[in-house]
Each structure stands twice: as structure tokens, then as C-alpha cells.
């Protein structure tokens, strides 16, 4: 029998939904003050942002395009955080995935799309997973903190991609091009466009399906149960017979693979080439995306949609109101900090403490 009343469950569910929303509004408010401070009008700025992100079919398509890598990488980050593994190397894994997909995309072979495209996607996933494998191995089996390792691999991954597309010496680089880039990928590896005339591609559908799939995996499978168990209490999980090292290793591979898919989708769906420095920090944004979603795969769909809209609207905001695009980094960071600080948490905590004190005693004597 549940120890929690219906009111309790309702309050908790309400908090989980409303809390991040309040945090978001506060972040927008504080950033609005910053915009005023530099002499611009926040209403105009945010207005331009809304028009640029949801104001038209084109704008919505752009939001969907920006959302796709955030959703994929956000899923990876959320999964690792859920297991208590701090994979903050999504940026590097994303570049690795993009390299993998590009290699398949530019291969001088002629394959039907039904083989070629899935192959590029799978290789992108595997490349991302491999990029996470070294930090994952040392975290799982050697007890080295994954935090600094995954961060360092970000820088290495970005440089590796730059080398690959170097126009003079890179194995994938287009010789003589003005900018470091690979050759165009084959038509048979391009993700289909969903709305003609826009850039919205099928990567978004893949990402949403994966989110739903991962929600089911985390919630209803043994793998998901073990993952949550290790995340909640690794010692208890080990006592219960979970091979925590192996679980962590698998989670790192999966997490890196998903970030790799984010990079692959950018190449296969949007850019059709690998460019140097093509990611504006999607792998770092993914941390905020995962946190805002409380590491819930379905929640990641919403939070990546929101941050995707921010990115889509930011360009228009810069053109119309002259506001630096980096204001969206401030909004994201403040949202995370406000979520973590738990705005209104004091009110809720005191209320819950009042409600729960007798129940806790009950727990002590129950066993």
C-alpha cells in the first residue's frame, strides 16, 4: 500500500512540471533585465524570438531542425545522469558520430538508400559510443572520474574532426575548398526532408521515436531498472547482485552513441557535409536539456523543443533587436541554476515536512 496520499502525489507531480517552468520564466526575466541594461527592448527581443521560432511554418521547421541534435544528445546525457554517470562529453561524442556518418556518406560506393542511410546512421552511433568507451571503461573498471576525462575528449574530438576535413591534409577534406569541409555525402545517405521548402528532416522523427523507446526501456525493462538502481544507490545495487561496472559501461556506450547520432543527423539531414566546428555547443546544451527534463526521456522531447526554439529564434532576435545570440546561453544556464536551487522549494518542503513527519516514524517501526 502506498504511503503517500493522493494529494502528495499530485503536489509532487505538479512540482516536477511547474518547477522547471517557473525556473524558465525566472531565467527569461533575469535575461530581460540584461537586455534592458544594454539599451534594448526585451519585449521586442522576445517578440522576435517567438516569431522566429514558432511564428510561421518556416520558423517551426527551423525549431525542429535545431531541436533534433539537442533531443538526441539530451537523451544520451539524461540516460547517463539517470545512472549516476556524469557524461559531460556529449560535444566530443557528437563530433565523433558526425565523422563516422561522413565516412560512410562520402565512400565511393553505390548502395541503395535502404542500405546506405541506415549504415551511415549506425556507424555514427558506433563512433559516438566508441568515443565514450575510453572514459566509460576507466570510470567503470578503474574508478577514474569520468568528468574530466569526458571533458578532455570533447576538445580532442573537435580537433579530430578539424583534422579530418582539413583542406590540405585531412582524409575527408575537400582539397582547395575555402573552408575546412568534407566532400558532399551521397544522395543515398541523406535523411529525407519532411516539409518541402524547409530544412526539417527525418532526423527529428528518429529522435522522437528513440525518446519514446528509451522511456519504455528505462521504465519497464530489467536494463532500465538496473540503470535506475545504480543511479539511486550503487552500493545497494551491488548488494542486490547488479554488476554495476558493466551497467555503467553499457550506459556510457549508449549515451555516447546517442550523442553520436546527434552529430550524424546534423551531417546526414542538414549540412550534407562535415564542417569544422559545426556544432555551436549542442553537446553542452544537452546538459541543460536533460536537467530541465529531470532526466526523463519523454521530458527531453519538451525541453529540447524549448531550447531548439530558443536557438531558432535567437537569429531573428539578433537581426531585429540587435541582441547577441549568446543571450540564449545565459537563459539556459540560469534555467538550470534556478531548477537546481529549487525556486519555491522552501514553501513546498515545509509543507511536505509537516505532512510526512508521522509517516517517517511509521517507516522506522514498520520493519
Amino acid at each position: 500500500m502506498s504511503r503517500y496520499s493522493l494529494a502528495d502525489l499530485f503536489a509532487s507531480a505538479l512540482w516536477r512540471t511547474v518547477g522547471p517552468l517557473i525556473a524558465l520564466l525566472m531565467a527569461l526575466g533575469v535575461s530581460g533585465i540584461l537586455i534592458v541594461m544594454v539599451g534594448a527592448d526585451p519585449i521586442t527581443a522576445y517578440g522576435a524570438m517567438i516569431v522566429g521560432s514558432v511564428g510561421s511554418v518556416d520558423a517551426l521547421a527551423t525549431t525542429g531542425v535545431r531541436m533534433t541534435p539537442l533531443l538526441l544528445a539530451g537523451l544520451g546525457v539524461a540516460l547517463s545522469f539517470r545512472c549516476g554517470v556524469w557524461n559531460i562529453g556529449a560535444e566530443g561524442q557528437l563530433y565523433a558520430g558526425a565523422i563516422g556518418a561522413t565516412i560512410i556518406g562520402v565512400m565511393p560506393v553505390s548502395l541503395p538508400m535502404i542500405v546506405h542511410l541506415p549504415l551511415a546512421i549506425i556507424v555514427g552511433f558506433i563512433a559516438g559510443a566508441l568515443w565514450a568507451a575510453i572514459p566509460g571503461y576507466f570510470r567503470a573498471y578503474r574508478g577514474v572520474s569520468e568528468v574530466v576525462l569526458t571533458l578532455m575528449f570533447n576538445y580532442v574530438g573537435i580537433q579530430l574532426a578539424s583534422y579530418m576535413v582539413d583542406t590540405r591534409s585531412g582524409p575527408l577534406g575537400e582539397r582547395g575548398a575555402a573552408y575546412s569541409q568534407s566532400h558532399l555525402i551521397a544522395d543515398s545517405t541523406r535523411l529525407p526532408i519532411l516539409i518541402p521548402g524547409t530544412s526539417l528532416h527525418a532526423g527529428l522523427i528518429l529522435a522522437v521515436l528513440l525518446a519514446i523507446g528509451l522511456y519504455i526501456v528505462v521504465r519497464y525493462t530489467t536494463f532500465g531498472f538496473r540503470l535506475r538502481m545504480v543511479g539511486a544507490n550503487p552500493v545497494a545495487a551491488a548488494y542486490a547482485g547488479v554488476n554495476t561496472a558493466r551497467q555503467i559501461m553499457w550506459v556510457m556506450l549508449l549515451s555516447g552513441g546517442l550523442a553520436g547520432l546527434a552529430g550524424a543527423a546534423e551531417v546526414l539531414g542538414l549540412k550534407y557535409r562535415l564542417f569544422e566546428n559545426f556544432s555551436p555547443g549542442y553537446g553542452y546544451d544537452a546538459i541543460a536539456v536533460a536537467l530541465l527534463a529531470n532526466n526523463n526521456p519523454l521530458g527531453v522531447i519538451l525541453s529540447s523543443g524549448f531550447f531548439g526554439a530558443l536557438r531558432a529564434g535567437a537569429n531573428r532576435m539578433q537581426q531585429t533587436a540587435g541582441i547577441e545570440v549568446s543571450v540564449i546561453l545565459i537563459i539556459q544556464a540560469l534555467t538550470v541554476l534556478f531548477v537546481v536551487a529549487g525556486v519555491l522549494v522552501g514553501w513546498l518542503a515545509s509543507r511536505r515536512a509537516r505532512m510526512q513527519t508521522p509517516r517517517q516514524e511509521e517507516v522506522v517501526y514498520a520493519d
Binding site: 578503474r142 583534422y163 549568446s326 545565459i330 539556459q332 537546481v340
Partner: protein, 310 residues
């Protein structure tokens, strides 16, 4: 082959110069981690320090004011970290990552607002001081004793930091709180107070480290100019076993690697320059992975502590 003294002098000088921002930041980082608080936000605190130092120097012309303002900026960000990580028991990695994102966004945003889209303002930097007599020794003189004042601060601080950490009551408290907070708490040490002060020290030093980066050599600010140096410091802490003097040497090692890769790019080696740029990061990875089991982190590093008294 005769040793090219001009090259050695140049490389050595640059190594010291590039190690200084790392070492200054690391001296605060040692205290934060020794007290049990993991601070990946040092990257953002450094970046803020670099930006605030340039801006303050631009408007006031005073490098002292610039250094103090940079330290204040780092401290301010570290207070956010301390409040959330210590008082709210929040996850230290998430808070640190958010602080880095915030610092990147804020410095970009404010730089554009103050200096415009294209401006790369050169400002007054830290004064260059050539020590008498010592500075005239061939090779060693220019490498060690002809630098900005930030470098000389970085020479002295590791010894001070070592002494305070291992020979004073305050240092004992820091270590106790990071190893076994329950015992420290029971002995009457305020875990919260010690951790707050340690994290604030780490913020101030990261701010100063950032100032040493922007005012020490280049004298301008570029977006995201710290380029992971705050993270490399985290590696140096592990490599140097959280001992200030060893950590400073680890920073010198990474500074030397950075200086070498910059020089190697001009040699026209067969190695593509992207691999040279990777060098400091790869060495950090190698240091972390190679020191498996040979180094023991403070036992309560990264674990929030909730006092019974709260």
C-alpha cells in the same frame, strides 16, 4: 646536434608564461577539492576573470583594480557554486557546468555590448619585471626572471598554499572536512564555513588566473579564450595529488606542452597542427588514466554534507 639556446629560451619563457594562469587557478582549486567540493566551474570563473580584467583595465587603466575586479568576479560566481552545492546540497557537476555556460554567455554578451562586434581592444597589461642580477643570467634569466608580476606571484603561492594546507589549523580543518566531514563536525569545525571559504578562495584564484591569461600576455579578450584551461587544472590536481607544490609542477608540465605545440606549429613538422593542439588535452587524459590507483582523492570529494545541526 647543438642545443639551440634561442629555442630553449623561447620555449622555457613561454612555458612559464602559459603555466601561470593554470597554477594560480590550481592553488585555489586545491583548497576547494581538499575541502570536498568538486569545482568544474573554475573554467567559467577563469573566463569571467579574463573578461573582467580586460574591461576594468580598459576603463580605469589600473591593472591592480583589474586584478581585484577579476578576483571579485570569480568569487561572485563561486558563491553561486557554494550556495547551491553546499547549502542546497545540489549536484556539484551540474552546478559547475551551468556556471561555465553562464560565464560563456555573459562574457560574450557583455563583450559585444561594451566593445562592439569587431573591437579587439588592447589594454594596459601586467607590468613586465626583470629581476636585477638574476634576470641577466644567460638562458635561465629570461626563462625564469623576466616576466609579468603574475608569474612571480605564481612562484611564491604554491609554497604558501602548501604551508597553510599542511602546517596550520586552518589547513587541517580543510583536509578534515574533505576527508571525513562527520568527524570534523563532531570536533566542532563548521563544515559549511570551511567549504564556503575554500570554494570562494578557488573562485578568487580562478579569477586571478583568468586575469593572468588576458592581461599577462595577449592583453585582449576573445570569446571562450580559456579553451578548457580550467578543466586542465582539474587534471593537474589529480596529477599533483592535491599537493600544492606538485600541482604547480603539473601545471608547469601542461604549460610546457601548450608552449611546445604552439612552437611546433611553426616548425612545419609532418604532424598536422590539429594533433599538436590536442597535445595538452591528450596529456591530461594520459595523466589521469596513467595515475590510476596511484593517487587517492579526498575521500568526501563531491559528496554534499548535511550537518545534523542544520
Amino acid at each position: 646536434m647543438p642545443i639551440d639556446t634561442a629555442f630553449v629560451t623561447d620555449w622555457g619563457t613561454a612555458s612559464i608564461r602559459l603555466a601561470t594562469p593554470l597554477a594560480l587557478t590550481a592553488m585555489g582549486g586545491v583548497y576547494s577539492e581538499r575541502s570536498g567540493v568538486f569545482n568544474i566551474g573554475m573554467e567559467g570563473m577563469m573566463l569571467s576573470g579574463a573578461f573582467v580584467a580586460i574591461t576594468t583595465s580598459y576603463f580605469t587603466g589600473s591593472v591592480v583594480a583589474a586584478a581585484l575586479a577579476a578576483m571579485a568576479a570569480g568569487t561572485l560566481l563561486s558563491l553561486v557554486h557554494a550556495y547551491l552545492a553546499i547549502s542546497r546540497l545540489a549536484n556539484q557537476i551540474i552546478v559547475g557546468a551551468a556556471i561555465n555556460l553562464l560565464a560563456l554567455g555573459l562574457t560574450n554578451f557583455l563583450y559585444r555590448a561594451i566593445f562592439g562586434a569587431t573591437g579587439r581592444e588592447r589594454v594596459a597589461g601586467f607590468p613586465q619585471v626583470k629581476l636585477p642580477v638574476l634576470g641577466d643570467i644567460p638562458v635561465i634569466g629570461p626563462i625564469l626572471f623576466d616576466h609579468s608580476i603574475a608569474v612571480y606571484i605564481a612562484y611564491i603561492l604554491p609554497f604558501v598554499a602548501w604551508y597553510v594546507l599542511f602546517r596550520t589549523t586552518w589547513g587541517l580543518n580543510v583536509r578534515a572536512v574533505g576527508e571525513y566531514p562527520q568527524a570534523a563536525d563532531a570536533a566542532g569545525v563548521s563544515v559549511k564555513r570551511v567549504r564556503y571559504l575554500s570554494v570562494m578562495l578557488s573562485g578568487a584564484m580562478a579569477g586571478l588566473g583568468g586575469a593572468a591569461l588576458s592581461l599577462g600576455a595577449v592583453r585582449y579578450f576573445t570569446q571562450g579564450m580559456t579553451a578548457g584551461r580550467g578543466f586542465i587544472v582539474l587534471g593537474a590536481l589529480v596529477f599533483g595529488k592535491w599537493n600544492p607544490i606538485l600541482v604547480a609542477l603539473a601545471c608547469l608540465f601542461f604549460g610546457a606542452a601548450d608552449a611546445l605545440q604552439l612552437r611546433a606549429q611553426t616548425f612545419g613538422f609532418a604532424i598536422p597542427h590539429q594533433f599538436l593542439v590536442m597535445l595538452p588535452y591528450l596529456l591530461t587524459i594520459a595523466a589521469l588514466v596513467g595515475f590510476v590507483g596511484r593517487t587517492v582523492a579526498p575521500q568526501s570529494l563531491g559528496v554534499p554534507y548535511k550537518s545534523e545541526a542544520d
